[in-house]
Symmetry: C2
Subunit: 181 residues, 2 copies
Amino acid sequence: MTAEAAQEPSRQTPQCAAVPGAVLDGPVSHSISRVARLHRIAAGRLLRDLGLHPGQEFLMMHLWDSGAVRQSELIKAVGLDPSTVTKMLQRLEQSGHVRRRPDPADRRASLVEATEASCGLLMAVREAWGELERQTLEGLDATERTELARLLAKVEGSLCTSAARAAEADCHSPHQGPLDC
Amino acid sequence: MTAEAAQEPSRQTPQCAAVPGAVLDGPVSHSISRVARLHRIAAGRLLRDLGLHPGQEFLMMHLWDSGAVRQSELIKAVGLDPSTVTKMLQRLEQSGHVRRRPDPADRRASLVEATEASCGLLMAVREAWGELERQTLEGLDATERTELARLLAKVEGSLCTSAARAAEADCHSPHQGPLDC
DNA sequence: GATTTTACCTTGGCCGACCAACTAATGGGG
DNA sequence: CCCCATTAGTTGGTCGGCCAAGGTAAAATC
């Protein structure tokens, strides 16, 4: 297929030609993956100084917004797997950002809230997210930004209904992913 | 939303400043994160039946394209951390998708190639990626698709230069992330 | 009131991905 | 020729994230 690979055993493959044919099916998918990774790395870099790992900020933001909240509510809000949230909360609790106590009204549930100490991070995290947004959208003018937001929202909807459709098709199978669209 | 919160003033209001919607700073960033997660889940669902975990398809695609390749080349091509690639290759080798042998020309290096058995997956993986692309772009017309691709490429570029800038600023620090833009 | 069902969380296992630190081989200057 | 910086890969640790399975408590049903 690829003419250059068939013939030249020498290395020094020119970087620019490094777009393999596999990218041909799914250029946007590849782009999404790469953007996601870069975005996550950028977030991690900005969050690192605050003592947060990428992903935790979602939980903290919701806690800062909502005050004490039942863990199930939190899980529904962020749309993650319950076990993921459990472990993240265990780590956040150990690092002092979060406090948990049993719900007096329901002995199965537990209430989660951000600690007072963590509130000092609120502004810093918001600032970091602002900076992240700035870095992300740097180079796009206003109309491009709104257009990107619109398209992403549309893609999100599509992927969501796709996931729901797949889940519904597998409803008899023991598969019950965290679907929350 | 949060209608019940407003309805219950007795609820422990957050001790931190009551900020309505931390999502406000960084709407596109939030959207990117959610889309990325949904996209990865969709990819995982499509890849699961093929015995591949999400992320491995990148490696396999490159191997199918390039034949036997030095591991360092592979690492450069996918842009991942070397240790990540090492572990993924160990698992892919154990599951029979990949073969590794030492490079006779350089005793440090090792050559990686896809096994013949794995080649049966090639078409299936391409098909899966095609389906993923279809699900992702479902609901977008042609101009929207090209526009999305264009905007994503621009964002990718921005995030890349941002990362490079940050890395350069930290060049004295022991930080040397896998930057490859 | 007893039984089934459902909801809430936890644990263990696995994988992708990162960083830090390490070994080993290569190759370039004194 | 030897020393030293660079390159190639590996290991260990940590985290986010998923799935599968389990245990306990509330709610629904009988």
